[in-house]
C-alpha cells in the first residue's frame, strides 16, 4: 500500500529527469526509517512503470542506516529500531543525521523510446 505511493512518486521523479529517453536502471537510496519494504517497492515499481519510458527498468535500492544525534549532549548513535530517546542522557529531540532518505540517486538511460510516434506526450510511450 505504502510502497505503491512511493513507487508512483519514484516514477514521477524519474520521468522528470529522463528527458524522454528509455530508462534501463534506477538507483534509489532508501533510509531505514522510511518503512519501505524493498521487495514490495520493487513489485509496485514494476506495475506503475508499465507503458512508460521506465518499463522493464531495473530498480537498485541502497539501504541507508539510521544515525541520530542528541540535541542536548551531542551524542551520536545508531538506533536499533525506532528508539529516539538519547541512550546517554535520556533527552528527546534527537536529530536524524541519516536514515530519512528517499532519494533517486541516478538513472541509466538509453536512446529515445523507439515505438513512440509523438515524443511530446508521455502518455503515448508504448511497449517496444
Amino acid at each position: 500500500m505504502h510502497e505503491l505511493s512511493v513507487a508512483a512518486a519514484v516514477l514521477d521523479t524519474v520521468v522528470r529527469h529522463a528527458g524522454g529517453r528509455r530508462v534501463t536502471l534506477v538507483r534509489l537510496r532508501v533510509g531505514e526509517l522510511r518503512q519501505v519494504v524493498p521487495d514490495s517497492l520493487e513489485l509496485y515499481f514494476g506495475l506503475v512503470t508499465r507503458g512508460t519510458a521506465c518499463e522493464g527498468a531495473r530498480l537498485e535500492q541502497e539501504l541507508v542506516a539510521a544515525r541520530l544525534r542528541c540535541g542536548a549532549c551531542t551524542h551520536e548513535w545508531r538506533p536499533g529500531g525506532p528508539a529516539f530517546r538519547c541512550p546517554e542522557c535520556g533527552a528527546g529531540g534527537a536529530t536524524v543525521l541519516t536514515g530519512d532518505e528517499l532519494e533517486v540517486h541516478s538513472l541509466v538511460v538509453g536512446g529515445p523510446v523507439a515505438a513512440c510516434p509523438e515524443p511530446a506526450e508521455e502518455a503515448q510511450w508504448t511497449r517496444s
Binding site: M1, L4, V14, R34, P82, G92, H105
Partner: protein
Amino acid sequence: MDEVVNVHRHVLEHNDATAKQNRADFDEAGVRVVNLMSAPGAGKTSLLERALPMLAGVRVGVLEGDVQSSLDADRMRALDVPVSLVNTDVTFAGECHLDAAMVRSGLVDLPLADLDLLVVENVGNLVCPAEFTIGEHRRAMVFSVTEGEEKPLKYPLMFRTCDLVVVNKMDLLPHLDFDLDLFLDNLDAVHPDVPHQLLSARTGEGVRCFAAWLSETAGA
C-alpha cells in the same frame, strides 16, 4: 549509447514544492491548518463532530479527504461549516492519502480568507499520509485503543511526525486488555515528549482539551 544521469533528488520533492505553495496561500489568507491523520476508523470524523462546535470565536473550515464517498463530508456539513471534499480515487495510486496537489485542488471551494482554522481530515491510513506534507502548520493523529500497543513501533513515521497524539475510544478501555502504559512507553520511544490527549469522542470526555489545542493552533 547508455548514459548515466545523476539525479540526487528526494522522491517527494515535487509534492513538497506544491506543499510550500499551499503554505504560502494559507499564510497570506491568515488561516492555520491542521492535518488530522489516523488509521481507518480511529474516530477522526466523530472527534471533529464533537470538537468543532466547541470552538467559540474561531472561524473553522474542513477539507475532507475520502477515497470515494461523501459520507464524512456530509457529517461535517451538518455542523454548518464550509466543507470541501476531495475524492482521492480519481488519481492513480493516490487512493490511500491526500497529497499537496489534491489538497490544492480542494482549496478553491473554501473561503480561506474568512477562516481562522482549516482542519484537513486525511484518508484513514496509518502509513501513507505521513509521507506527504500538504502545507499544514500542525499535524495531529488520532489513535484508538482498539488498535494495539505496538502500533508506534510498527508504524513509527506518523507517530514521529505529529505534534499531538489523540488517544481515542477511552470509553472502551474497561472492555479491552489494552495496556495504556505500554502504549505510552512505545510512543515515548518513537517520539519522546510528544503531547498526548486521552479522550472519548463517544462520551465527550477530554474532547474539550482537544478543542483547546485547536483554538491555540488557530491563534485564538
